[in-house]
Symmetry: C2
Amino acid sequence: MKKHADILVENGIVITMDEDNSMITDGAVAVVGDVIEKIGGTDDFTEWDADNRIDAKGGIILPGLINTHTHAAMTLFRGLADDLPLMAWLNDHIFPAEAKLAADHVCSGAYLACAEMILSGTTCFCDMYLFEDAVAEAAHQAFIRAVVGEVLFDFPSPNYGSWENGLAYSKQLMDKWRDDRLITIAVEPHSPYLCAPALLKGAAELAHDNDAPLVIHLSETRAEVDGLLKKVKKTPVAHLADLGFLSSRLIAAHCVVLSPADIDLLKIHDVKVSHNPESNMKLASGIAPIPELLDAGVCVGLGTDGCSSNNNLDLFCEMDMAAKLHKVNRLDPTVVDARSALKMATIDAARVLGLDHMIGSLEPGKKADIIVVDTRKPHLTPMYNPVSHLVYAASGADVSHAIIDGRLVMDNRELLVIDAEKAMADVRSIVGAGQ
Amino acid sequence: MKKHADILVENGIVITMDEDNSMITDGAVAVVGDVIEKIGGTDDFTEWDADNRIDAKGGIILPGLINTHTHAAMTLFRGLADDLPLMAWLNDHIFPAEAKLAADHVCSGAYLACAEMILSGTTCFCDMYLFEDAVAEAAHQAFIRAVVGEVLFDFPSPNYGSWENGLAYSKQLMDKWRDDRLITIAVEPHSPYLCAPALLKGAAELAHDNDAPLVIHLSETRAEVDGLLKKVKKTPVAHLADLGFLSSRLIAAHCVVLSPADIDLLKIHDVKVSHNPESNMKLASGIAPIPELLDAGVCVGLGTDGCSSNNNLDLFCEMDMAAKLHKVNRLDPTVVDARSALKMATIDAARVLGLDHMIGSLEPGKKADIIVVDTRKPHLTPMYNPVSHLVYAASGADVSHAIIDGRLVMDNRELLVIDAEKAMADVRSIVGAGQ
C-alpha cells in the first residue's frame, strides 16, 4: 500500500539543524497531521502519495525560524520615532502612545506582526506586552506558534491594575490557553528595575508551580546596571541570583552589560539568553558579549525586540547582524560563524523557549514547523553553501512557503490563514498614519 | 495642447533628496527622453498624457540608489568561503579562484550583479576589478549606469601585464567608452600597499589629464596601516598626500583606520569616502569613523564592496547597517540618522562619484534614474515616516520599479532588459556550484 503524507515538501536542500548537522542535498520532508513523519532523499518518497506536494525547486527546506523576544503589537509604532536618545524615545513617544492602548489595538497590532513574521519565515515567537490575551488570540487566529505573557511591573497596569492582580491574570491566561496547540503562557516581569523583589519572587514561584517559562529584560543598558548597583549594590544578574530568580526556565532578553561573574551566574543556573542585536544597536544600548556567552556554554537565541526599535521583525536580518556585529567588535572574522547564527534562530532558539522537544529542527516526531527558501534569484546565485546564503545573502522576502503545526500557512508567498490586507487596514485605521 | 511624458510615475510619496529635502506626499515625476521633465503633485499632471503611466500606489518614489564601491564580478565567489581570517580568505580561496578568471567570466559575473543591483534598487555602481572592459560591456548590456576602472598594481596582471600597460589600457578604456551614455571610466590603483609611488603618480596624472575619477582602497585594516607606517613612516593617507595623490576626484574606499590628522587631510583635499560597513564587519576590519568624517565635512557614500565579503549587493541593508553600527559604536542613538543614511546612498553617493550634476536626486533636468518602493506590505505598515522605512524596515525586495537614464528597466519586479534566468545559468555553469 502507498504511504501517505498530508504535505510532502520535496526537491530541496534539507537543512535539519539536528545534532549531527545533517543536510540532504536533494531531499524531502513528509508531514502527517501536525508532525514530521519522515525526512529523506526526494527519491525515497516516489512510492508516497500526498494531499499537497510542495516543490522546493532546488531551494532550501529548513525549520521555521523562532523569534525569542518581541513585543508584537509594537508594529503600531513602527517608525513613529527614530534616532533619539532612549529616554526621549520612551518618555516622549512610546509611553504616551502606549497609554492610549486598548486590548483590540494590541490584537490588531499583533495580528499584523504575525503576518510579517510568517512572510519572513518566522513560525514561533516569544512575546511580552500589555493585554497579552489579545496577543494569544491574534496568534491563535493567525495560526502561528507563540509563547506569550503579560508584562508585570510595580506600578498599576491599564489592563490588570496591581501586580498581585497581574500574577492572578497570568494564572488565568494559563488556565484559558492550556489546551491550545500553539500557545504557551509565560510569566513575564518586565525587569529588575521596574519590579520589586516581592513581584520577582511571586513571578518565579508562579512559573515554577506551573512549569511555565519565565521572561525578563535583563542588563540591557549601562544606565540600568549602574542604577541597580547604586540601589542594591549588585548587578542585576547578581540581584536576581540572590532572589532565587535564576533558573533554566528563565529567558533573559538583551544581557548587553554583563560582568564575567554575571556570565558565570547565567551559566551555573542554565539561564537562557535572547540576543537582540538590531534593537541594541539602534537604541545604542551596547553590544552583548555573545562570543563570551557561547564560550561559557550559555544557550543563546535571537530576537528582534519590538519593531519600533528595529524596525522590522525579519530574523534573516537579525542572523546577518549577529554574525557581522561580533566579528567587527572582536576584530575576529571567525566568531559567530554562519552555522552558529542559524542555530540561534532555530534549534537554540527552541531551547531558549523550552520547546526544543517539539520544534527548532527537522526530525521525525517533531512538530511540522517548516519553511522553504526560494534560491532561484540573482542575489542567491551561485550557491556554494546554503547556510552561508541563509545568514549572509537572503532576506525574509526569499521565504516562499511556511508550514506551522502541520498546516500550510503560506504558499508561494500567499498567506493562507491571515487576511493581510485587512490586517494592514486595521492598523492604519487605529494609528491614522500612512496610505 | 496636452503635455507629454514618455514615462509618468504617479501616486507616490516623492522623496527628492534635493537641497531643501523636498517631499511631496501625493506626487508624480514626468520623464521625457533621458531626463526628469517635471516633479509635482499627482494633480498637477491631470492634463498630461504619457506613453507609460506607472502607478506607485501610495509607495515611495526616490532617486535610484548608488553603490560607490563594489567588485561586481565577485558574484562568482558569493559564499565560496566565509568566517575566515582575511589572509586565509584571500590567499586560500579568493586569489586562487581569481587566478583562473577570464574576461568572459568577469562579464557573466558582472551581468548577474547588474540583475541583483537593479532588483534591489541600485541604478549606478562604481566598480574595480580585472577585465573591466567586460564589466563596462555587462553594464552597457544590462542598461545600468556605472563608473568602471581596471585595477592596477605593481605585479603583472593577467589582463594587461605590467602596470605601465595597465595605465595605457585604462586610457584605451576611456577612448572606447567616451560616448557611452551610461559608462564613465575611472583610473583605479588598488591600494598604497600594492602600488609603488611611480604607479600612484602615473594614475593620478592620467585621471587628472582626462578629468576622470580616481579610485583606491585606503586604510582598510590596522595591518595595512601598520605595514605602511613601518615601510615609509607615514600613514597611508599621509603617504598619498605627500605623493600629490589626494584630490577632489579621489574616491577612497573603506577608510577604516584613520588618525585625526588623516581626517584633516581627507577634508583639506576634498577626498570622497566610500563607506562599506557590511564588508568591514564581515571581514572584521574595523569600524570606519563615519560620524567624525561627517562632522569634519567629508563627503561619504555607501558601498557594498564585492558580494563575497557581504554577501549581497543590497544597499538597503547597507543603509540600515550604517545607521545602526555607528549608533552602537558611539553609544549615541542620534548619530547617522535615517536621512543621513539615505543621503549616503543617493545624493552624497553621486557627489562621491562626481556625478551629482546628473544623478542622486530627483530634480528637473537631471537624468531620470528613479526607483519605486512598494509599501503596501505588513513590514512597511503603518507608515509614519517614509525615510525611516527606507532605512530601517525595507529591503531591496520591496523595490517594484526602476528607471535608468529614462528607460524602464524593471516593471513590477520584472527585469525588462536583463534576462535573469540566463544570467544565473551562465554563472552557475562557470562556477559549477549549486542548483
